[in-house]
Amino acid sequence: MRITHLSLRDLRRYREVDLDLAPGLTIVRGPNEAGKSTLQRAIELALTRKVTSAASDIESLVPWDGEPDARTVIGMTFTYEDEDGGSHEGRLEKSFRGARGQVSLELGGKAITDPARADEELAALSGVPTEGFFRSTASVRHHELAGLQRDEGALRDRLQASISGADRGTSRARKKLERAIQGLQAKGAKNPGRLKVAEDAVTDTAAKLRIGEDALARLERDRDALAVTREHRSESETALSERRSMLEKARQAERLVSDRNAARERFERYRSAVTLNDEVAELDRTHPSAIPLPVLRADVERLRTADTKIGTLESMLEGEVQVNFDVAPEVRWRPLSRTAVGLVGAGVAIAVLGTLLGILGIIGEGARTLIVALGIVAVVPGLILSVVAIWLRRGDKTEKQLRDEEVHRRLRGRSEIEEDLRVAQAERDELLARLELPGTAEAEERLRLEEAHVAEIDQRRARLGGLIGDEPIDAMPGRRDAAALEIDQKTSALDSLGPIAHEPRARERLEVEVADAERQLERARDDEASARARVEQNPVDAEEVAGLAERLATWSDDLAALGRRERVYVRTLAEINAAEQATMQRATRYLERHMVADIAKVTGGRYRRVRVDDTNLGIEVFAPERRDWVPVTDLSQGTLDIVYLTARLGLVRLVTGDRRPPLVLDDPFVTLDDTRAPLALGLLREIAADFQVIYLTTSDRYDHLADSVVQLAGPTASDVSTEPEGVPPA
């Protein structure tokens, strides 16, 4: 692409200007403030700036003395080649009016007015996609070279900017990203990064929330447990109540059974009493004898006596009694007594004799003892015989009395006996008559029967007395019936109590169960109290926990957004680094190949070897004096400028590929001496075969090398007035 004509209206110092440019090398020469940089800026804007741009720098392009509605208009005519190498002419006019900006691009007879499309077409023609790209490649400003030597990294940065495709290189982008990442990732406690702040907040809030949620869950569990214990307590109370009720029934049953048994006992007693009473009455009514037993017994006794007497008397009368009172019985005791006296006397005499003899010493001791023993032997039988004699004498005395009685009776006579017999018989008869019995045997039988009867009555009465004591016998039937009624009532009451009334040892069992149930209830109450205490002691507030959850959600969202932002920054940095690394390797190899000839040419063959560091674009040349590689920053400013420019132009070739943007150079050779400057410009002339070169300079030393020279007039107006009011003179 080669610009053949450039027209500017209302652009900085230009109200309106038209310039013709050579397709090869054009020198635009003018003094300071002649508008050279404005021309460079106009070409940049025309090729890259969207006409609808609302950027503030567009506003500042309008001349100070322009009309109020003046807007910058840049027009150009240019030639371009198609893919077949055919040359065509195109026209461009851009009117910068903010959103109302207009563009007209004529290509191949077609006019394009859509700003975006027009810029796309221009970028395709020039190979310059953006303004920054243009400034970093084909548009070289003078100030870029200034200070290269002062700042070792400046050369590398600027070359990197060229290769970055932007006018500020990657370092600024990298620094900005690194700062942003640092700002996010800083872990220090004093100045924590936003990520750390968010992470800490999430961690802290999550921990608090977890505690809160745990407390809420515990509250639910405790309330659940409280409900369970409450139910358990209620069940225990019910069970205890039931057990107590059953126990009361069992006790009631016991009392009823006891009462019923008592009633039964009374019933039996009263019933027995009544029966006995009836039996006694019956027995009283059926005595075998009409005569009371004592009288009967006395009568029978008398009857018995009478019978004996009668029998005796009759026997006496009939001689049935034999008494031998004719011969006196022999006295048996007398011989015995005499013998006994004799023996005792003899024995005593012998013993006395022996003793005397012994005392007198007539006989010896042995003889005396023998004699005394003989005396004793005689005494003992004598004493025995005397006892027998006494016993015989007593018998004889009784027999003598009987014999004397017999003798007396015999002496009374028979009539008296008969009289006695009659009396006795009369008495017996009288007794039998009274007894209405035929004989003593019947009387005896009657007495036996009566005695048995009376004994029977006495026995029953005794039993009756044992049964009722002092109670009136007449009340017995009523009491018996009352007892029977009570038995029925107690039985009904027992039946109404259910099976428990009939269960043996139910009270003992239930007392144990009640005690168990009481203990169980006590435990259930304790459990309930504990559960209630746990519920009441739980200080959790669901709304506070909700607030924590909500804060956590907010912080989590922030953290996620920051995390995403961090990932984007880190990834962007990594992608830029990767792109830079790949690009730099290609660029350094390209530069090493293409710069050598240019540098050798400009330096007159002094430097013929160049090498470029593919990590930072640091350039070294082989210095013949030192016979070593030296960084270009160690060389003179002029040489450095040449190296930079050749590298820059080399990069333009690299990055624009088959496109040929116009090169606009704002006097980059200003530092070269008069020997090297033409050589350098000669290099540009060679380049001008491929690229249109527009060289802006204040010097005329290049005029003879140019295809065209455009001379710009310097500023004409001068300040003739006094200093502005209020500002003191310099």
Binding site: A116, A166, T170, R179, G183, A546, Y569, R571, I576
Partner: protein, 391 residues
């Protein structure tokens, strides 16, 4: 004639994770809506005040919340308005139920014999009000997930004879494919066979009424919206049951008690000129009762630099809550690309190539990574071009 006010799903103490620092205010608004419901019941002199479940958002609500509710119920009781409440799925009548933990009737200062405040439970599924000739049946379960439909065999439940039979159920009406996993589900056939005159429903937060057979039923919805998608919330139902000429007539009327409005607004990032323009545009619809959920969608041009947090901060106070989420995707590179031999050109081509691969993969992780890479592309492109970018 019997008049009743039907509400449900108050969800007192609900969590609003999406409302941020406005959540507490929204909880307060939910209670305010409940108080407004009580005010309406008193103003309309209704006979019955029905709460069809989920009065509380959970069973672990603090005592002060229960006390506040009890104070409102006390106002109803003082006006002799009978309140009947059933537990729902959030305040389910399990062992840790808030209704077991606290005796609402006692806290409201009523005596059991008055039956002015009644919580129906599995043990007490209905209540007969002889004075108003009505029976309220509220079949509930002790589990969050119902073992059966609460309306099953409802018509066979033996209750004292009354002119009006009113049902109180917290359940979803069966919609195949949508309610399959719901905890409590009923069908319109069951409603029609319930023998009720009016069925007060809870569980769905948007108001709606309908008729199944001869049974009029309705969801009152939440008196104050609980979430963004409850566009028909904020209402209660006023029902009138009348008998004329031997025929029963049931009419319902929606009344508004809630204030909060939720709105989800999507804005195409391509039409946003700048962040200040976006703020100005949103400020135009400022509303202190509005929870505005703004989503920037579409393709975001490179020159649009929007920080959602800054937008939210700029509009703080203009809304009850504004949430701005940038779901837009940065544009891919437009126009002529820098040459491939430049760092910028290589960067753009590398990243765009990876984005294309990921978007072609189509799965969620790849799409998410592609979205991030679009931001990487935009950021790197702008930074390499030397443009100002807010980081």
């Amino acid at each position: 004639m019997l008049r009743l006010l039907h509400t449900a799903d108050v969800h007192l103490g609900a969590r609003h994770a999406d409302l941020g620092d406005a959540a507490a205010a929204q909880r307060e608004r939910q209670f305010a809506a409940f108080r407004a419901t009580v005010d309406l019941a008193l103003a309309e002199k209704v006979d019955l005040f029905l709460v069809a479940g989920d009065l509380f958002d959970s069973n672990t609500q603090p005592r002060r919340s229960v006390d506040r509710v009890a104070a409102e119920l006390a106002r109803l009781a003082q006006a002799r308005v009978r309140t009947v409440i059933i537990p729902g799925t959030h305040d389910v009548y399990d062992r840790s139920s808030v209704y077991r933990a606290y005796d609402l009737a006692a806290l409201a200062g009523t005596r059991p014999a008055e039956e002015l405040v009644t919580v129906l439970t599995p043990d007490r599924p209905w209540i007969h009000f002889a004075a108003i000739d009505a029976v309220v049946l509220g079949p509930v379960f002790a589990t969050k997930r119902a073992p059966r439909s609460p309306l099953k065999d409802l018509a066979a439940v033996a209750t004292p004879p009354a002119t009006w039979k009113i049902g109180l159920v917290h359940a979803a009406i069966a919609i195949p494919g949508r309610t399959d996993n719901d905890e409590v589900v009923i069908t319109t056939d069951e409603i029609a066979a319930s023998g009720l005159d009016y069925l007060a429903l809870g569980h769905w937060h948007s108001v709606q009424t309908a008729k199944a057979g001869s049974v009029v039923y309705g969801y009152s919805g939440a008196p104050e919206p609980v979430a963004v998608d409850q566009d028909r919330a904020g209402k209660v139902l006023l029902a009138t049951l009348d008998q004329r000429g031997g025929r029963k007539y049931v009419t319902t009327e929606e009344r508004t008690v809630g204030r909060t409005v939720f709105e989800r607004r999507e804005i195409d990032a391509a039409v946003i000129e700048s962040q200040p323009a976006l703020v100005a545009r949103l400020r135009a619809s400022a509303d202190a009762d509005l929870v505005l959920d703004v989503r920037l969608i579409g393709v975001r041009p490179d020159d649009l630099d929007v920080d959602p947090a800054e937008v939210e901060e700029a509009l703080r106070g203009a809304f009850l809550r504004i949430r701005v989420r940038d779901l837009s995707r940065p544009a891919l590179s437009q126009g002529a690309l820098p040459p491939a031999e430049t760092i910028s050109g290589a960067f753009i081509r590398n990243v765009e190539g990876r984005i294309a691969d990921l978007e072609a993969a189509g799965d969620d992780p790849a799409v998410l990574e592609a979205d991030e890479l679009r931001d990487v592309l935009r950021l790197g492109r702008l930074l390499l071009a030397g443009q100002e970018v807010t980081l």
